[in-house]
Amino acid sequence: MSQVNDYVFSTEESSYPPNQRSLPFFFKNLNNSSHSQSDKIIGASYSHFDRPSGSRSRTSISPERTSIGSVGSLSPRLKTSKALKRLSVFDDDDDWDDGIEEEFLGKETKSLGKLYPDLEYVKPEFQQPSTAPARPVSLIRENYKDILEDPFVILNGLDLQDYKHHKLTELLNADSESLDLNELKKQSWKGLPTELRGLVWQLLLGYIPSNPSRRQSVLQRKRKEYNDTIEQIFNKSKDQIIWHQIIIDVPRTNPSIKLYSYPVIQRLLERLLYVWAIRHPASGYVQGINDLATPILQVFLQSYLVAQANVANLDPDKLDVEILNHVEADTFWCLTKILDTIQDNYIHEQPGIMRQVESLANLTLRIDEKLYTHIKEQNLEFLQFSFRWMNCMLMRELKMDLIVRMWDTYISEFPKGFNEFHVYVCCAFLMKFSEELKEMEFQEMIMYLQDTSKTENWDETDVEMLLSEAYIWQTLYRNATAHLK
């Protein structure tokens, strides 16, 4: 196993914590093993209690492969000469289309016509590494600066691994005046490809307009507004109660995912959570909102990375700060959009959650009366186990990559995905354990329900099952829960 220096990404088995200076002293004592420098990551070193939760991700990479710059060869390729050129995202002098000037990219006038005229799926084959000496390779998209300005640029040179997303790219590439949002929602419901997720989320949340002529100016304005707000808010004296809660929660956010251990990411989260809290005085910061910011943050960061890169292991210190700044602003606005639909989950006495818990109980009664009766007979209250499901959108019960997949559907159901639809998903989740639960008594039930290890082996198929069941029940029982907002 070779040692790769100055490496933008580590593999999932890399050492962790990456930066011990930022950790409490006892962390150092407990983990005084040799691999501790953030800039030297030994591919094979493996610290198992820190194994990132995204470790089964299909998009993982191995260090040998990336170090010879042949990532592109690992995925299905397009059998056109242009497409083949596009694959070599690591080639420094890649001017893949002489017809399009580099600076022309990202301009509003740019045609976003069909990029793959003669697309044909071919099986992946081994490609010889092009350059002889191994050199560190950036897994950042080389056109990231253009993507920063116009997220649609990501469609250029896209090498989708899975042909099933053909329809989606066609949609996004279609003549932009008439972007079919309804069709886009349908595609999103079924799950999005990693590369396009950020773009589609931003479109469906209404953050970027589908109208191409306004896109760049809207983005610029939003990002500026966020930066100005930061300056304003942080120039005043801090609300100590809110700030204190945020700074003790941020280091406890997704502790099993390496990305969140980096100070630069922690500061970013602190800022955006604080700004959100100050701008929403009715709720302020409530524990759990920190969790909700992270799927968005990860997905948006991913837009600037090649698809094979696992964002969970990204070393953010190696990123252009411009990426981080823009991602922070975009995350803030999209988090705001989502939280706007569940505001009363976080205000005094949390009436939104109370209502959702009640709906969950009603639904359970209709769908699985035996389970409902058993729960009641055991004096188990729905609030005791489902409060957290509502407060954290099941983020404590499911791994990050599954949550991200789930949010494709939630966002496609926007603005009802995170409130009304979520209750049906929670109901489907509860039903998954119905048989086991009916055999248990109060204490076993509550311990079983709060134990997160029961979903450790879940994959996307399990989540997709959950979503389909939720959909069916929503269709059947929608009227029964009409009082839900």
């Binding site: 109660i241 809660q245 929660d249 502790p255 524990q287 409060f387 957290r388 076993e444 709060q450």
Partner: protein, 221 residues
């Protein structure tokens, strides 16, 4: 101590005591609980949302005493939800962080909270956690000890990290509750009868010394 750890579903106990863990966010409540019930300290601990639950059965004076412990979220916003769990509790650990004076200053607020929502004769122990951070100490032991004495609270300093005094603090509380209960042994017959139907959170043994007025209905005798 080889008591039932981890999977404590046993019905082999004579007393069931409901205990609550309260105190500011991040003082280490969840880690105290995991240290006591599973002998684990979790570096990856996440903030508690709502309430979490665990149990452990230990021996006190040759009797099997089962502690049913509710770990609550520290943030103010959750107070409405967590306060519901105080009802029926016979013991409470009010936790602060010895390296954080604000968490200690909050203690009186937590005690008031108990007064408003818990049974009048609940036994309370003040716990200064993170004693391993002695070099960062912000709350002198003597000060906290005096405060505890004045307010008739039990007191310990613990470290969930290195396990120091964790056993002791829970034992001390459970023993006190046990003594309180057995001092009024003839009340016990009623409680003993309830013991068999230990299904829900409402089944608790609430000590009701005769010299104190019982103000709640859950003791139904």
């Amino acid at each position: 101590m080889a008591d039932n750890m981890a999977e404590d579903y046993s019905y082999d106990y004579e007393y069931l005591f409901k205990i609550v863990l309260i105190g500011d966010s991040s003082v280490g409540k969840s880690n105290l609980l995991s240290r006591f019930t599973r002998d684990e300290f979790n570096l990856e601990s996440r903030a508690t949302i709502g309430v979490e639950f665990a149990t452990r059965t230990i021996d006190i004076d040759g009797k099997r005493v089962k502690a049913q412990i509710w770990d609550t979220a520290g943030q103010e916003r959750y107070r409405a939800i967590t306060a519901a769990y105080y009802r029926g509790a016979v013991g409470a650990l009010v936790v602060y962080d010895i390296s954080n004076s604000e968490s200690y200053e909050s203690v009186s607020r937590w005690l008031r909270e108990m007064k408003d929502h818990a049974d009048a004769n609940i036994i309370i122990e003040l716990v200064g956690n993170k004693s391993d951070l002695d070099h960062l100490r912000a709350v002198p032991t003597e000060e906290a000890k005096n405060f505890a004495t004045e307010n008739r609270l039990l007191f310990t300093e613990t470290s969930a990290l290195n396990a120091e005094n964790v056993e002791l603090s829970f034992h001390q509380l459970l023993k006190s509750i046990y003594e309180m209960v057995s001092k009024h042994r003839f009340d016990m017959d009623d409680y003993g009868a309830q013991k068999q139907s230990t299904s829900g959170p409402t089944i608790t043994l609430t000590p009701t010394p005769k010299d104190q007025k019982v103000s709640n209905g859950s003791n139904c005798c």
